[in-house]
């Protein structure tokens, strides 16, 4: 089945710095979803990408899907303390969603 690897596992940044997490697969993915899990909470859907080279933005968040549809990234510009949490990528195939291990972001005020 599809497997997605996510790096880095942890990222500590100063408030105002940028942050990027990467999601990679050895196989071509039909789609990529990104989720955010706040500390103590449950994952919440952020966005889905399906097209090769697709780029989507949500305020300070930029999501990209690679041209080969084997990798994706989430970039946060000028992090804020409200951005803390774990960011997961996931891919769905035949109704089954497989998640990466997540990148946990901490932000120093």
């Amino acid at each position: 089945g599809q497997q997605v690897m996510q790096i880095p596992q942890y990222q500590h940044v100063q408030e105002g710095e940028d942050f990027t997490t990467y999601c990679n697969s050895s196989t071509t993915l039909s789609n990529i979803q990104w989720y955010k899990q706040r500390p103590g909470g449950h994952p919440v859907f952020l966005i889905q990408l399906v097209k090769s080279g697709e780029v989507k933005k949500q305020k300070r968040l930029t999501f990209q899907f690679g041209e080969a549809k084997k990798n994706s990234s989430l970039h946060i510009t000028a992090t804020q303390t409200t951005d803390v949490g774990t960011y997961f990528c996931a891919s769905t195939n035949a109704g089954k969603s497989t998640f990466g291990d997540g990148t946990t972001l901490t932000v120093k005020p």
Partner: protein
């Protein structure tokens, strides 16, 4: 609107005791249902998924089982809990329709086996 209910929120159980976690979905029909486990500070491990009543796929060999007695009810069980069963258990649902594959998670159950 669709909602997902998962209970209990926290649970402390002794080793060797049984387990039953229940998840129900409202506002949708024939959802795909999932049970995930998340160890402390770790990613989401898919345990079971179901595409219909009585249809359960197990992803990893383990001490747990799942059942789907009704369309919108998904139950995670164990006959005898192990210490290694501790973790954060998340139920989720999705409706796979074309390109829409978003998953919606319940609030989770934090299980501690002592």
């Amino acid at each position: 609107s669709q909602t997902i209910h998962q209970w209990p929120a926290t649970l402390v159980q002794p080793v060797g005791s049984p387990l039953s976690l229940e998840c129900t979905v409202e506002g949708t029909s024939n959802p795909n249902l999932y049970w995930y486990r998340q160890a402390a500070g770790r990613g989401l491990q898919l345990l079971f998924y179901s595409v219909g009543i009585g249809q359960i796929s197990s992803e990893v060999p383990q001490n747990l089982s799942a059942s789907r007695p009704q369309d919108r009810q998904f139950i995670l069980s164990s006959k005898k809990l192990l210490l290694s069963d501790s973790g954060f258990y998340l139920c989720a649902w999705s409706v796979f329709s074309g390109l829409n594959t978003e998953a919606f998670f319940g609030q989770g159950t934090r299980l501690t086996v002592v």
